[in-house]
């Protein structure tokens, strides 16, 4: 019998910053010393969601949308203005130390490794930080470095490692103390395709085999598709989307792009749906499957001439999400938050 | 380019080359003063030193009229002047030049139509002169409030003092210039600066040379260290016309000698760079 406990529970979370107004001109600057003017910046508005243990979640949003603020609240780095956040049963602000034993973090910007030393030194140090029993710790280092393909690199100074190697070490470091929940910020940024695949596979496997909950932020939707099974979209501080990746893909499947190439120039003026782009012997047609049926479109294209090649693609996830950002205005997000 | 004062006399073509060095100097000064908080910090440190040592000498002189031939007033002003020279020059010359050599920036400027050592001289001495203003003011105020108003005893005194300070600055520059040349051969050359700084401190900054055993004096004077802070500080507090010639001549001799050495070492170093490539 398994009872899934929520790994993360967030209810009506809000965070407002008071930012001191920069004064221009001497008299204003003097005045602001005595009585500073603040303006409020609402970074997170009334956000609510829950994450089950073992889930793999992507946290998406344009820059400045409130992603980092939310993560900082969840990891205990920031105190919320109002609302409730609970991570693995802990209040991140009150129990930050106890929470940090059971969560792992791999933030692209902040490294946990000592730059001038071989990675093994940093890994050993982390064992002391997380109070892992030395023999067990050595075993884990061996296990992780083998799984992540880092065995020969343990004695290489971190500054000499390639970016991909360094990130693999950061990930291994974040897993050493066997956390139940892993926060990842842009884990594949700057990496080439081969290394990206490696890292996505490692993360997906770790989530599957060890039931480690993954909380991922990334601008790379390839990461999202390969690693995560659910996506949260935040924009202007409000949650505007909370869907499984499958559902998102189905949404993307509602708009298809049909590209057809003919053996010889044809006349396409009589098509059921006018092409978006057309040439003498080729055409690109955007199809909204809610309005037109693909079989109809394909038949009408085949009827126009001898088809040399045809491709039918779903709308890329990236475009879908970019559209959502674009079309969901500030007013809409505020209206949503007001419910 | 805006007209410079030098342009008023530079109708003569032979002064034209000087223009670029004057410009280099004024640019460097503007740069230096852009970091006003930095300068304020230095002035604070100078003032602190003057405060501590003024008190130190006052306590040291308890019950004594003279030490090594100096009375309390003289020794305190001695310190104010010697530290003034050192603080004005700072160690920026060494730091900047070493960095330029290590990054290969020097190789870059070698292709330009001016003498790198002269440019460096113009920049660093101009900065030092500009910094002397606030330091001298602070030092003079602190000294005068404690010991009474100080001023040169005659026009000759003022002239000799000014010349000696200028020579001291140039000599300090040359020392740092030569030391920074070590960067052509050694990556880690800060140790050379430290040794130089300590030798300079010990030989004539805190205490005049008269405080050392008489046998040491000739040896100190065989190094540039006897001619850095001692001459201007000595002239400030104990002006004797007989000494003026000796002190100024000694400083000048060392300036010329080190200048020749500096150009030789610089040539050798830049040849090395040209061969090895930045």
């Amino acid at each position: 019998m398994s009872v899934t406990m929520s790994a993360i529970v967030v209810r009506n979370l809000s965070k407002t910053f008071r930012v001191a107004q920069q004064a221009e001109g001497l008299s204003d600057r003097l005045r602001s010393l005595v009585r500073p003017h603040y303006r409020s910046v609402s970074a997170v508005r009334d956000v609510s969601f829950a994450v089950e243990a073992g889930e793999s979640l992507a946290f998406l949003g344009p820059n400045g949308a409130g992603k980092s603020t939310t993560i900082k609240i969840l990891t205990g780095l920031l105190t919320p203005s109002s609302g409730v956040a609970q991570v693995l049963g802990f209040d991140p602000q009150k129990d930050r130390k106890r929470l940090s034993f059971v969560i792992g973090t791999a933030f692209g910007q902040k490294s946990q490794l000592w730059y001038h030393l071989p990675a093994i030194d940093s890994l050993r140090l982390l064992g002391a930080v997380y109070e892992v029993e030395p023999r067990e710790h050595r075993r884990r280092i061996g296990e992780l470095t083998e799984r992540f393909g880092l065995g020969d690199l343990l004695d290489v100074p971190v500054r000499k490692l390639s970016l991909g190697q360094r990130i693999r070490f950061e990930l291994a470091a974040s897993l050493l103390h066997h956390p139940r929940l892993l926060f990842l910020d842009e884990p594949t940024i700057g990496l080439d395709v081969v290394v990206k695949r490696q890292i996505r596979a490692l993360l997906e496997e770790w989530n599957r085999d060890h039931q480690v909950t993954l909380f991922l932020t990334s601008h790379d939707l390839g990461d999202v598709e390969k690693i995560s099974r659910r996506a949260l979209l935040i924009h202007h501080g409000t949650l505007i989307l909370d869907q499984s990746i499958g559902a998102l893909k189905r949404l993307a499947g509602l708009k298809k792009t049909v590209r057809v190439k003919y053996a010889a120039p044809v006349d396409l003026s009589g098509l059921v749906l006018p092409p978006a782009k057309v040439g003498a012997d080729w055409a690109t047609i955007e199809v909204d499957v809610r309005r037109h049926r693909i079989p109809e479109i394909v038949s009408s294209l085949a009827a126009a001439g001898e088809v040399a090649d045809i491709t039918i693609e779903d709308e890329p996830l990236e475009d879908l999400i970019a559209d959502i950002y674009r079309t969901t205005t500030l007013e809409e997000t505020h209206a949503r938050a007001a419910h | 380019m805006r007209g410079l004062p030098i342009d008023a006399i530079a109708g003569h073509r032979w002064l034209l080359p000087m223009r670029k060095y004057v410009l280099a100097g004024s640019t460097a000064v503007r740069n230096r003063w852009a970091y006003r908080a930095d300068v304020a910090g230095l002035v604070f440190t100078y003032a602190l030193f003057v405060f501590v040592f003024s008190n130190l000498w006052a306590v040291a002189y308890a019950g004594k009229a003279r030490l090594a031939g100096y009375d309390l007033r003289q020794l305190t002003w001695y310190f104010i002047v010697s530290e003034l020279v050192l603080f004005s020059m700072g160690q920026g010359t060494f730091t900047a030049l070493s960095a330029d050599i290590k990054t290969g920036q020097v190789a870059y400027t070698l292709g330009r139509p001016w003498s790198f050592p002269f440019k460096s001289l113009a920049e660093n001495v101009s900065c030092a002169l500009s910094l002397m203003g606030p330091f001298a003011l602070v030092g003079w105020l602190m000294g005068s409030t404690r010991l009474g108003f100080w001023r040169p005893s005659s026009a000759l005194h003022a002239l000799a003092l000014t010349l000696s300070m200028l020579l001291a600055l140039v000599l300090l520059f040359l020392c740092q210039f030569l030391l920074s040349m070590t960067a052509f051969w050694w990556e880690e050359n800060t140790a050379f600066l430290w040794i130089h700084q300590k030798l300079a401190l010990v030989s004539g900054t805190f205490l005049p040379l008269e405080f050392f055993p008489a046998e040491w004096r000739p040896w100190i004077e065989r190094t540039p260290y006897g001619w850095l802070c001692y001459p201007p500080a000595r002239l400030a507090v104990a002006f004797e016309t007989g000494q003026v010639r000796r002190l100024l001549a000694g400083q000048l001799a060392w300036v010329l000698g080190l200048a020749v050495l500096a150009s030789l070492v610089f040539a050798a170093g830049s040849r090395r760079t040209a061969v090895q490539g930045g």
Binding site: T69, R98, F101, E131 | V59, T190, L207, F211
Partner: protein, 260 residues
């Protein structure tokens, strides 16, 4: 406690490894510091040759100053090398790494660095000691005062650096404070006018670092030993409290520098 000892040992090992990775530059710094301290002794020897004593302090007393000051300063920066970097860490957001880990962030941040030059200071002090005294009691006291002095340095510097939580970039203030602290610990107490000496036991606690210990070393006036230890402890507690307050402000996100 055991966990923190293990942490200190492991971090220190990493610090040593980092210094060793750049051994030539580190050695140069050690050497430079020794030279620096030695040159001041040359000055004092030359001066005392003419005056005998300064305010009642003779060569042995000055040597005590120049042994205790450097060894305490050295020990402080050997073990707590980030004592004067805390402000920079705060302003640049580098504190987050320590906040995300299950150890006290102030302690962890402080010990995560060792300053090579500080080793020069530390050794210098202890090498000088046998030239001052052979009395085992005084040598023991010297060792104790080195520890209390180091704690005073660490407590005081990290307290000043914690002001960065409220004031942002405090590098100017911090260097001024360092200069003052060093000046007041390296010159005999009689040098400073009587009316200002209260400063050394409050705003710039150099008195607990140098003057009180040297008084005990000269006269064996025991009562001041526990006072010195209490002062060191008080400074540490105060600095921890200030840091914790500052951290709360950091966590509100409203700290100077506006990290959002």
């Amino acid at each position: 406690m055991k966990a923190y000892t293990r942490l200190l040992v492991e971090v220190f090992r990493a610090n040593l490894a980092a210094v060793f990775a750049y051994r030539i530059p580190s050695l140069v710094q050690v050497f430079g510091m020794v030279l620096n301290n030695a040159s001041f002794l040359v000055f004092w020897a030359a001066l005392l040759r003419h005056t005998g004593t300064v305010g009642g302090w003779g060569l042995r007393d000055v040597l005590y100053l120049w042994a205790l000051g450097p060894s305490a300063f050295g020990l402080a920066h050997i073990l707590f090398g980030n004592a004067r970097q805390l402000g920079t860490l705060i302003v640049q957001g580098d504190l987050d790494v320590y906040l995300l880990q299950p150890k006290d962030p102030q302690f962890h941040a402080l010990i995560s660095r060792t300053v090579p030059a500080a080793w020069g200071d530390f050794f210098y002090g202890f090498v000088l000691l046998p030239f001052i005294t052979h009395d085992p009691l005084r040598m023991g006291l010297f060792a104790i005062f080195t520890v209390t002095g180091a704690l005073v340095f660490v407590g005081f510097f990290s307290l000043v650096q914690s002001l960065a939580f409220w004031l942002g970039n405090i590098s100017g203030l911090a260097s001024a404070v360092t200069e003052l602290m060093l000046s007041f610990t390296l010159y005999p107490e009689p040098v400073f006018p009587q009316p200002m000496r209260w400063v050394f036991y409050s705003l710039i606690p150099a008195g607990f670092l140098a003057f009180l210990p040297i008084h005990v070393l000269r006269t064996l006036d025991w009562v001041w030993l526990p006072v010195t230890m209490a002062a060191a402890l008080a400074l540490l507690v105060l600095s921890a409290a200030v840091f914790r307050l500052g951290l709360r402000r950091y966590e509100s996100g409203n700290a100077q520098g506006g990290r959002i």
